[in-house]
Symmetry: C2
Subunit: 350 residues, 2 copies
DNA sequence: AGCTCAGATGGCAGCGCTGTCAATCAGCTT
DNA sequence: AAGCTGATTGACAGCGCTGCCATCTGAGCT
C-alpha cells in the first residue's frame, strides 16, 4: 500500500467488503448497482458485509470508472422567495435516485455566461441540469448544454423547444378563472398589474385576464393596465396610478403577491377602504400573502412539486438508450386558487 | 484505448494538453494546481494549451487521485426565507476557492439522522460542511462529522463548542439598541414577542430587551412577554393577548418580522391606530418588512455575508496542517438597525 | 575542472471503482 | 455422453488525475 488511508476518514473500500463477504470486488459492485445476475444468497451475504462495515461507495471513484457523476445542477440567476422551496422538492426527488444537487448561480446577463457554463460542465460532468427562468430561455445555455450532451429541464420557459423537456403551470387558465371570480362578484372596472416585460409569466397572466374580460364582453381600459417588475416598489407606483383613474377600479389583479401587497399599501395611503372599496388579488401565495391585512386572495404555485418533477425528469433520462423518452416530457402542474379576505363584492355605488 | 470517450462529452484529458504543450501530464497537473517549481515560460505554454483546448480538469479524477472532493455541504433542516440568500453568499465564496456547494436537507428530528449523515459523509467525502440551525446545535451531528474528520462551520449555534468554528451575529446587542430607541421615544409599556423556545436567537433577543429595560430601571410585565414560534399565525395570538392587557402596551418588539407583521394585523383588527397608538418593530429585515403598512422598523441580518464568511472559514481549513487556525475562528458579524415607519413616539395619553 | 545543490521536469503507480470478457457450472437437449 | 444454454462469478485493465521519487540541468563554489 502506497498511500495510507487517513485514519477514521471515509469508510472501507470495496475490497474489504468483498473479502468479508467472500466474493470478488466485482460482485460487490454488482450488488451496489442493483445489477441482475447475482444469486440471492450471494447478494444477501454482500449486503450484510456492507452493513457490518458501514461501507459507502466512494462517489468520485464510481463516477470516474463508470463515466457518471451522480450530480445534478440547479442553475439559477437570482435567488428568489421560491428558490429554497423549489430546491427542497428537487433534492428530495434526487435522493430517491441517488443523485445530489449542486447549486450554481449563473449571471444570465454576464458576457462570461458561456465560459462559466463550459467550466461547470467540463469539471463536474453533471448528469443533468435544471434551469430556472430566465436561464431556461437563453439559447446560449440550451446550446452549450446540448453540445455537451447534458440533459436539461427547463422551468417555465417562454419558448418551448422541441427537444427540451419542461415543467410549468397553466398561469393563463388560473388567472382567467380568478378574473371570472371577480366578474361574478360584480366587478367591472378591474385593474391589471403586469410583471416584468419579457417574462413568460407576465404574458400568460395578462392573457388570462384578457381572456376573461373578452369572454364577458368587457373592454380593457388601458389606464388600468400598468407594468411593474414584480417588485413591491414598482407595484406601489402602478397602484397609485390606477387608483387615480376615474371611475376608480373596484378590483386590482397583480401579477404577483409582492405587487398585490403594494396595492394594499397604496390603497391604505389613499384612504381607499379595504376590501370594501377595493378588492385585490395576487399570484404565488408567497408568505407575504397571509401576512398582510386583508389577507390576499391569490393563486398558489406548487413550487415544491415543480422541483420534484424537474428532478424526476432528469432521473428519467436514459443516456445509453434514446435519451429522453418520446415525446420529450412536458409537465404542466395545476395551480390552486386560494380565496382569502382581500376580495369583496363590488361596491354598490361604483 | 478500451472505452471510447463519448463524442462531444467532457473535454480533453490532461494528456492531450500535455502533448499540445510539449510537456508531461505531471507538469500540466502542477500548473492546474498552482504548484511552485514550474518555469514561467513553461507555465505559460501550458496555460495556452489549456485555453486552446478548452480543457477543464475532471473533478472526480482530481478528487480520487488527490483524496479531495472539492465539495462543501450545506446542511439545513427547514428551508426558510433566508436560505437562498445565505447559500448565494456561500456559493460565491466557494467559487473563489474552486469549491462547489452541495445542498442537503437533513431532518433534525429524525431517528435516521446519524445514518443519513454517515451516508453523505461516506459517499461524498465532503471537504467541509456548513451547519444551519438547529443542526448546528446537535451533538450527534458534531460528533459524527468530527469522527469523520470533516470540518464544520456552525451558524448561530446556541452553545459554542471549543473546537467548532462558528459565525453569528450579536442579536443581543442589536435588540438592546433597538429597545433603547423605543425608550428614548417615551415608550414605557413595551411588549416582547419571543421566538421558538430553544433557539439561540430567541434567548439572545430577549436578553437584549431585558438588558435595556433593566438599564432604564423598568420592570418587565409578564403579561407583555409572549412566546410565539417565529410564525405569523402564532404572532397573531401573542399580539392579541398583549393588546388586551391594560394599560395597553404602546410598543411591541417581535423576535422576527413575520410576527411583527402579525402584530400589525392584530392591531388593525383591534382598531389600534398604527403607528400612533402602537409602535411595532421586527427582526431580520425580511421582504415582508417593507411590504406591510406601516413599513417595519427592524434589524437587518447580513445573511448573504454570513454565508460568505461560512464558506470562507471552510476554505481556510488546512487538512494537512493543524486543521483550523488557532484559536478556532469565530466570526461575529454586525447587524444593522433599519428605521422605518412602524415606530412613532409614545402617545401622550398613555 | 570537479563538486554540490536547488530548481525544473518526468515516470510511474495507484486512488476506488466499473466495463469487458473469460471462466465456471448446473441443467438441458439430442 | 457430448454439446449447448444461460446464469453466476471473477480477472484485469483503465477511468483521469496526483503523490512520490528519480532524473536532469545549470548556477555557484572551491
Amino acid at each position: 500500500m502506497r498511500r495510507a488511508a487517513a485514519p477514521g476518514r471515509g469508510s472501507a473500500t470495496i475490497e474489504v467488503v468483498a473479502a468479508q463477504a467472500g466474493v470478488s470486488p466485482k460482485t460487490v459492485s454488482r450488488v451496489i448497482n442493483d445489477e441482475r445476475g447475482v444469486r440471492a444468497e450471494t447478494r444477501d451475504r454482500v449486503r450484510r458485509a456492507i452493513q457490518q462495515l458501514d461501507y459507502h461507495p466512494n462517489l468520485a471513484a464510481r463516477g470516474l470508472a463508470g463515466d457518471r457523476s451522480f450530480l445534478v445542477g440547479l442553475f439559477y440567476d437570482q435567488p428568489g422567495d421560491y428558490l429554497s422551496e423549489f430546491q427542497t422538492g428537487a433534492v428530495q426527488r434526487c435522493r430517491e435516485s441517488n443523485l445530489h444537487l449542486m447549486i450554481e448561480p449563473l449571471a444570465a446577463a454576464s458576457a462570461e455566461l458561456e465560459r462559466d457554463l463550459r467550466t461547470l460542465v467540463g469539471q463536474l460532468r453533471l448528469e443533468g441540469v435544471i434551469l430556472l427562468p430566465p436561464l431556461s430561455d437563453l439559447p446560449v445555455v440550451h446550446a452549450t448544454l446540448a453540445a455537451a450532451g447534458i440533459p436539461a429541464v427547463h422551468i417555465a420557459p417562454m419558448h418551448e423547444q422541441d427537444d427540451a423537456p419542461s415543467v410549468d403551470t397553466d398561469d393563463r387558465a388560473a388567472v382567467r378563472q380568478l378574473t371570472t371570480e371577480l366578474l361574478r362578484r360584480g366587478h367591472r372596472r378591474i385593474g391589471f398589474m403586469r410583471g416584468r416585460s419579457g417574462h413568460w409569466a407576465t404574458e400568460q397572466r395578462y392573457l388570462g385576464f384578457a381572456d376573461a374580460m373578452q369572454a364577458t364582453g368587457l373592454d380593457i381600459d388601458p389606464q388600468l393596465v400598468q407594468t411593474g417588475n414584480f417588485e413591491f416598489a414598482e407595484g406601489l407606483q402602478c397602484a397609485r396610478r390606477m387608483l387615480s383613474a376615474r371611475p376608480r377600479p373596484t378590483a386590482i389583479i397583480a401579477s404577483n403577491d409582492d405587487m398585490a401587497a403594494a396595492a394594499l399599501s397604496a390603497a391604505r395611503q389613499m384612504r381607499v377602504a379595504l376590501p370594501r372599496q377595493l378588492s385585490v388579488v395576487g399570484f404565488d401565495d408567497a408568505p407575504v400573502a397571509s401576512m398582510v391585512w386583508p389577507r390576499l386572495t391569490t393563486i398558489r404555485q406548487p413550487v415544491r412539486a415543480i422541483g420534484r418533477v424537474a428532478a424526476e425528469l432528469i432521473s428519467e433520462y436514459q443516456p445509453h438508450r434514446h435519451g429522453w423518452p418520446r415525446p420529450v416530457p412536458r409537465r404542466h402542474l395545476p395551480l390552486e386558487l386560494v380565496l382569502r379576505d382581500s376580495v369583496a363584492p363590488a361596491p354598490e355605488d361604483s
